[in-house]
């Protein structure tokens, strides 16, 4: 029983990392039709940001608190640059954006190898995050609790931004109907850039978060990107609610499968579950309902 709760919790914290990664992907996919394969490398950049910050600020607690916004900024700026230089001319070619951003991902990975070396590096967790808390008799690491809290906080912030601010309204308008929003005077350029900044920033935060539960290597992005995309697919493109459900479901399922079989069989099972699920709902858990005016 304790083991199961422990596994469930490991699943939830994996889910929260996936959620942070998938939120940005889902936003940019929904709004611009961009499939950003470099998103995983933005995570990696966030993780290395945490590493660098800790080189400068040796106090692990302070450096963590600095790393979160710093990671957001680094991820966000990378996203902005990518959007401005390459993606803005490719909005109508989603499949091609996937390949172009894969090229960018290769370059960023190699850059990380050249700068930080191929072996992984570690970021120390602050003292107040070391240790466990007991939940129903199962020991839950504080770091995982922190990650869960962090991702829920980011989620709340994002939802607030989308629901309650003029900027959010503009973004939602563009997601629903790009052409109409454009002709109604919404500056799609501006909202595209902001969406990309925020989405990529969240990837950076996710990167900072994963330094608490594992080491950082140039391959960090590769490990998460495919799963993050599966979350977007299962949740429905551009659907935050769907992404939340799918991320946690995937995280928990993966932990449970790994627990009851092996890690490698677990991966295969997850994929089968998703393909079967798409037979029932080809658009994902939620989908945009629009009737194009024929």
């Amino acid at each position: 029983m304790e083991l199961l709760i422990g596994q469930m919790f490991a699943g939830l914290s994996l889910g929260s990392v996936l959620l942070l990664a998938a939120l940005g992907l889902s936003l940019t996919f929904g709004q611009m039709g961009v499939i950003n394969m470099a998103h995983g490398e933005f995570m990696m950049a966030g993780a290395y940001t945490a590493f660098v910050v800790q080189q400068v600020i040796s106090d692990a607690g302070v450096s963590l608190l600095v790393s979160v916004p710093a990671g957001f900024l680094v991820g966000g700026v990378l996203g902005l640059v990518l959007e401005a230089v390459l993606l803005r001319r490719m909005y109508h070619r989603p499949l091609d954006t996937l390949l172009v951003t894969f090229g960018v991902a290769l370059i960023l990975q190699q850059a990380a190898r050249d700068i930080f070396g191929a072996p992984s590096v570690d970021v120390r967790a602050p003292g107040w995050l070391q240790g466990n808390i007991e939940v129903l008799g199962a020991p839950i690491p504080l770091t995982r609790l922190f990650i869960l809290a962090l991702s829920l906080l980011c989620l709340a912030g994002l939802v607030l931004l989308l629901r309650a601010t003029p900027l959010g309204r503009r973004i939602r308008a563009v997601v629903l109907n790009r052409d109409l929003a454009e002709t109604s005077g919404v500056s799609t350029r501006r909202s595209d850039q902001l969406t990309f900044f925020i989405g990529s920033g969240l990837a950076g935060v996710a990167g900072v978060a994963v330094t608490l539960i594992g080491s950082t290597s140039p391959y960090l992005g590769t490990n998460y990107i495919v799963d993050a995309f599966l979350v977007v697919v299962a949740g429905g493109i551009g659907q935050i609610k769907g992404a939340v459900i799918a991320a946690f479901a995937l995280g928990v399922l993966q932990s449970v499968f790994e627990y009851s079989t092996t890690a490698s069989v677990g991966k295969v099972l997850i994929l089968i579950v998703i393909v079967v699920f798409l037979q029932l709902r080809p658009q994902g858990i939620f989908s945009l309902k629009t009737r194009s005016l024929a």
């Binding site: 960018v104 190699q110 590769t222 599966l230 697919v233 069989v265 994929l271 798409l278 080809p282």
Partner: protein, 386 residues
């Protein structure tokens, strides 16, 4: 009529030239080692022919071709391991199994002792996997972007699965150390030349197959499905069938290529079949011209040659270069090198207008009730010429 005649003659001449170069000139001038290397490139070219069909003509971004390549390769590798064990070890148990596992051959390996089963499985297993997956995805009209992501996830899962099964698949080391190929000693240079020749013949055959498919009514239909899938339905066709058939053909070609890769290169491991090699298959296709017949072949051989020349001496540079290729070719020249002549000589273009089309549609808003799906493929400004 003149055009047709010239087309026919041109094709025949092209094939003759290709045959002479691949089967005559290359074995005569290249040392055995280089010939083996070229054989490896030709395997990639066979995969590329399939990708050109599925992606260039069919608009399906197949990010998981490594899986089919791997299935074919592992089937062949398993057979060769078993054959070696019987021939040289006597015990009939492949060496690595005694090292990592129980020393017993698992039941699902046994069928591959038979050469006939192996040859069938090289074709059937990738074909069946693609059939099931294709039907599951295309029949339910899962969107194009989803297809790309799922096929990528498949590649990731496949690699992870192989790594996890150390005792039965060799894990991350893969399968290697082969000594014989259907009874032929792999150390004998003559047999190495023979392997190369087999790869070259298979490539020529797969080009001929792709050509037939592209120029047939099926090929025209495939382009119609790529550009306006919904519209095709209203003419009484089920696009899912057309896409699935194409996907299966591409998968089978990849599987055969994988099976040839193993004796030529001497190793197959998860590093050859995962996400990154799967996507890497695409770059050559894109450079050569994804919608053309020969573009993918030449592109794949070119990229593979460049990689083998550069990646060992300048590993870091090679990765940057590969990344840049993706960015520049896909981003700025989606028609690949094949579109260059068309870009340069616009006037002559009109003459080929009647021939089979080579360009995915620009985004066309159809009045169909479904909102325009984001998967419609690239905007290519110019026709790619053959």
């Amino acid at each position: 009529m003149r055009g047709l005649l010239r087309g026919r003659l041109g094709t025949a001449a092209g094939f003759a030239l290709g045959t002479v170069l691949l089967l005559g000139v290359a074995p005569a001038v290249l040392p055995v080692f280089s010939l083996g290397l070229l054989g490896k490139f030709l395997c990639f070219a066979i995969v590329a022919v399939g990708i050109g069909l599925a992606w260039g003509r069919g608009g399906m971004l197949t990010l998981g071709q490594g899986v089919f390549f791997g299935l074919g390769a592992y089937v062949m590798a398993m057979h060769m391991k078993l054959a070696d064990a019987s021939l040289f070890g006597g015990s009939g148990v492949p060496d690595f199994m005694s090292l990592y596992g129980s020393g017993e051959v698992p039941g699902w390996w046994e069928p591959f002792r038979s050469p006939a089963v192996t040859l069938l499985a090289v074709v059937l297993i990738p074909g069946l996997v693609a059939l099931v997956l294709g039907l599951a995805i295309f029949k339910r009209r899962v969107k194009g972007a989803y297809f790309a992501i799922l096929s990528q996830a498949l590649a990731a899962a496949f690699a992870v699965f192989l790594i996890g099964q150390q005792a039965t698949t060799g894990g991350s080391n893969g399968l290697s150390g082969f000594r014989s190929f259907f009874g032929f000693d792999l150390k004998d240079p003559n047999n190495k030349v023979m392997l190369y020749l087999i790869a070259a013949v298979v490539l020529l055959l797969s080009i001929a197959l792709a050509r037939q498919l592209m120029h047939s009514r099926f090929g025209e239909l495939l382009v119609a499905v790529r550009d306006q899938e919904e519209r095709v339905r209203f003419l009484g066709y089920d696009p899912a069938t057309i896409k699935t058939v194409t996907y299966v053909v591409a998968a089978v070609l990849a599987g055969i290529a994988g099976a040839l890769f193993v004796p030529l290169v001497g190793i197959i491991s998860p590093a050859d079949v995962g996400v990154i090699p799967s996507i890497a298959f695409l770059i050559g296709v894109a450079i050569g011209g994804r919608a053309t017949l020969l573009g993918p072949v030449l592109g794949a051989v070119g990229v593979a040659a460049a990689q083998s020349a550069l990646s060992s001496t300048f590993p870091s540079f090679w990765v940057y270069f590969q990344g840049l290729l993706f960015v520049l070719v896909i981003g700025f020249m989606p028609g690949g090198l094949a579109s260059l002549p068309a870009l340069l000589g616009r006037r002559r273009r009109l003459r080929t207008a009647a021939s089979t089309p080579a360009v995915p549609a620009t985004r066309v808003r159809t009045p169909l009730a479904a909102p325009p799906e984001p998967e419609q493929n690239a905007t290519m400004p110019e026709e790619a010429r053959r």
